[in-house]
Amino acid sequence: MQTHAAKRVEITIERVMQSRLTDALSAAGVTGYTILPVYGGSGRSGPWSRSGQVSKAGGMVQVVCIIRPDRLDALLESAFAVVERHIGVVCITDCDVLRAERF
């Protein structure tokens, strides 16, 4: 089938920063993203898990954006401004999509 080159950006970020990130993405014109729950993880600040937690602190989410390659830089800059002082991982992959008109 006909596919189109795109970029898949996966931003793993603290839950408390989620709305700030998505606001920044929207401001940068990125309105398409999907948010995945994250159950736990580990990093320089040690392992963590959401089980039994009530507070929003101490959890993360994964925001996945699929965008046209030419819009990648705008996305990364707006995301970086939010993530900069916070823990979080930004990971970019090449991908192909169906229905390119959507991105």
Binding site: V16, S45, P47, S51, K56
Partner: protein
């Protein structure tokens, strides 16, 4: 003293404290016992709704006491000032850097609603009543401490400028809204409203609290294990000394406000307790460089168990001694 010990002993063998102990032991023994996040949240929503509602009904019942406004102001002042004392005490007792000290201090100005709930159930067991609006005071004490902590941090140039978004998040965070909202609902609907739903929010309350404390024990135990390295002996001493100092400030205010014994003890508990839900979330946004292991270990791993097991009977004894009863 023997009264404290007797009370502490009795407290120690209540299902509530033992449930916490069970969670703690299970976590330290690395059992995989766990409560799903959604269930833990549901339990906390239930507890907030029930405690707020009952507080409101009690205000509707007994009429508005003149001291409601004064108590709210006192609570706000306590919440705002306690962090400054905590900050100084931390500098004294530990080598914690100023940023982390500010973050920790913010937790101790704010409150732990589950400690408050556990205290109300101890009052109930002993047949002591308290001012229903203490629930509103609890809600009022959640946020001011955060602002103090940010102010402490900003003196160093660290900390983020308070944006409007953060203000909104702090003052409209879920637990404040639910507590105040259900308080108002209880107030408006009064005893008639309570009669409609009391077999939901009164009868099963203590049992639900047990399960919630089981979860708290699991969290505290797992936090202790992973936060072990993060806090030194000085910080741990702070985690036990600070609630006692806080409780005395609360006692002083309660005396000046002329609260009942029960109300005084609750204000002491509020001042003595440290937040582990709302403040950590605000700190992650505003002071991301502060280390969560430090403030969570102190708040959840040291001060919460101390208050639950020893603090509550101690504060009750003090309130009875100084306020009368």
């Amino acid at each position: 003293m023997s009264e404290v010990l007797y009370l502490a002993g009795e407290n120690l063998i209540s299902p509530i404290v033992l449930s916490f102990a069970l969670g703690l032991i299970a976590a330290l023994a690395r059992s995989d016992l766990s409560i799903p996040e959604a269930a833990a949240k549901a339990l906390s929503i239930y507890l907030l709704f029930a405690i707020g509602f009952k507080g409101g009904v009690s205000v509707a019942d007994h009429g508005i006491d003149l001291s409601l406004g004064q108590s709210l102001v006192a609570g706000i002042v306590l919440s705002a000032i306690t962090p400054l004392i905590a900050f100084l005490l931390l500098q004294l007792l530990s080598k914690m850097d100023r940023l982390n000290a500010a973050a920790v201090a913010g937790h101790y100005g704010s409150i732990s609603i589950v400690t408050f709930v556990a205290a109300t159930s101890v009052l109930e067991n002993r047949g002591l009543s308290s001012e229903g609006y203490m629930v509103a005071v609890a809600a009022a004490m959640e946020a001011p401490a955060i602002l103090s902590a940010l102010w402490l941090a900003s003196r160093d140039g660290s900390g983020k400028k308070m944006d409007k978004e953060l203000w909104r998040e702090i003052f409209l965070n879920g637990s404040i809204v639910l507590l105040i909202g259900s308080f108002l609902i209880g107030w408006i609907t009064g005893p008639k409203g309570l009669a409609e739903i009391d077999s939901f929010i009164v009868a099963p309350f203590k049992g639900v609290l047990c399960l919630f404390l089981l979860d708290m024990g699991l969290l505290a135990g797992r936090g202790m294990k992973s936060g072990r390295g993060a806090v030194g002996i000085g910080a741990i001493a702070f985690g036990i000394l600070m609630p006692i100092i806080g409780s005395l400030l609360g006692l002083l205010c309660a005396f000046l406000l002329g609260l009942s014994v029960g109300g005084s003890m609750l204000l002491m508990v509020l001042s003595a307790s440290a937040s582990y839900i709302a403040v950590p979330a605000a700190m992650r946004v505003a002071l991301p460089e502060a280390n969560p292991s430090i403030y969570l270990t102190l708040s959840l791993g040291v001060t919460f168990p101390f208050n639950l097991v020893l603090g509550i009977p101690l504060y009750l004894t003090l309130a009875q001694a100084f306020i009368g009863g």
